[in-house]
C-alpha cells in the first residue's frame, strides 16, 4: 500500500490553535489570528501540547487531509471506514482510493491496532512533505528540526 498527500488544511498547527483560542476568547477571528501570528509557532506548540495532554482532541478535527491511497483492497479499507466514521473513502479503481480524514481520526487510527499501519504511512508521508512538523513531533514522536 502507498499513501500520497493530495491536499491538507493550510497552516495546520495554527488552525488547531485558532480552534483552541476560539473556545476561550471573546475576540473576533481576525484578532485571534493576529495574536497567534504575533506569538508564533512556540505558542501554537504550547496550545497543541495542552490539547493532547488534556485529550481535547476536538480541536484537531479542523486539520483535514485528503490522500491518494494505492494498492489497497476493499478488505483493507472497509473495516477502517466502518470503525472510523470521520474517515471517508471513494474507490477510484479496484485498488486505488481517495481518502479524507481529520487529524483527530489520524491520532485515533495511530492508537488502534486496526489503523496503526495505515496511520504510520500517513504520518511518514506528512513528515516527508514537511506538512505539520510540530504536530507530527508532538502527536507521533517524529523527530524534526521544528522541535
Amino acid at each position: 500500500m502507498r499513501v500520497l498527500l493530495v491536499w491538507s488544511s493550510p497552516f495546520p498547527e495554527k488552525t488547531i490553535a485558532v480552534a483552541m483560542r476560539r473556545c476561550y476568547s471573546t475576540k473576533p477571528i481576525e484578532d485571534i489570528e493576529a495574536e497567534l501570528e504575533q506569538k508564533g509557532p512556540e505558542y501554537w506548540k504550547y496550545l497543541l501540547v495542552k490539547a493532547l495532554q488534556d485529550k481535547s482532541l476536538d480541536v484537531l478535527e479542523h486539520f483535514v487531509l485528503t490522500l491518494a491511497v494505492e494498492g489497497a483492497a476493499e478488505a483493507d479499507v472497509g473495516p477502517l471506514v466502518r470503525a472510523f466514521p470521520y474517515l471517508r473513502a471513494t474507490q477510484l479503481r479496484p485498488s486505488d482510493w481517495l481518502m479524507t480524514l481529520n487529524a483527530r481520526t489520524l491520532v485515533e487510527l495511530w492508537k488502534d491496532l486496526r489503523g496503526k499501519t495505515f496511520a504510520e504511512m500517513v504520518v511518514s508521508e506528512l513528515s516527508q512533505r514537511g506538512v505539520c512538523p510540530i504536530f507530527n513531533q508532538l502527536a507521533f514522536g517524529v523527530n524534526t528540526d521544528a522541535s
Binding site: 485558532v18 473556545c23 477510484l92
Partner: protein, 176 residues
C-alpha cells in the same frame, strides 16, 4: 451575524489526482472530500443549538465558563423588536437577568455557575469544519421556509460562501 470562510479544499488538487487515475470528476462522490472551515460570529445560542444538531461536523464554540457576558451581546428577533409590548417585556427580562448575573459574579459566584441564568438570545462565536455533503444537507434543511429566520440567514450565507469558493461542485449538485 458575521460568517467568514477560513479555508476550503483545493478542488484542483483532487482533480489532478483523478486525471492521473483516468477517473472523471463526480460531484456526488467528491462531496465527502471537499471541506470548509467557517468562523461564525454574533449569532444567538438559540441558533447554535439548532446548528450543532447537524452531523458530521466539527465545532469549537466560545465558552461562557470564563468570559463575562454583557447585555449588549444579545440577538433581538425582528418580531420582538417590532412589537412594542413584546419588546418592553424582552428588554425588561434581559435587564433583570444581566443584573442578577453581574450581582452573582460580583459576589464571587464563578462565571461558569452564574451563566446558568443567561438567556439563549446571547451572542456567540464558533468555528465549524465540515464537508460538502454535511453542508449541503444543512443548507437544504435550514434554508427551507419552515426553518427559523436566524439559522435560515446563516445557512444562506454558508451556501453563498461555499458556492463562491467551489462553484463547480455546488452548481453541478444544484443542477441535478
Amino acid at each position: 451575524m458575521r460568517v467568514k470562510l477560513l479555508y476550503h479544499t483545493d478542488i484542483d488538487a483532487i482533480k489532478r489526482v483523478l486525471a492521473q487515475k483516468g477517473v472523471g470528476f463526480d460531484p456526488e462522490a467528491m462531496m465527502d472530500h471537499v471541506f470548509y472551515m467557517f468562523e461564525i460570529e454574533d449569532c444567538s445560542r438559540v441558533t447554535t443549538h439548532q446548528l450543532v444538531r447537524h452531523r458530521a461536523v466539527s465545532y469549537d464554540q466560545e465558552s461562557q465558563r470564563f468570559s463575562a457576558a454583557t447585555k449588549e451581546g444579545v440577538v433581538t428577533p425582528p418580531s420582538v423588536r417590532s412589537n412594542e409590548i413584546g419588546y418592553t417585556a424582552y428588554d425588561g427580562a434581559l435587564k433583570a437577568v444581566y443584573s442578577a448575573y453581574e450581582d452573582m459574579v460580583a459576589a464571587g459566584v464563578p462565571k461558569e455557575d452564574a451563566r446558568y441564568i443567561l438567556p439563549s438570545a446571547i451572542k456567540t462565536k464558533l468555528v465549524m469544519t465540515l464537508n460538502a455533503r454535511s453542508l449541503m444537507h444543512l443548507v437544504w434543511q435550514r434554508t427551507a421556509l419552515q426553518a427559523q429566520w436566524e439559522i435560515r440567514e446563516l445557512a444562506t450565507t454558508l451556501r453563498s460562501l461555499a458556492q463562491g469558493a467551489t462553484p463547480e461542485l455546488w452548481t453541478k449538485i444544484i443542477e441535478r
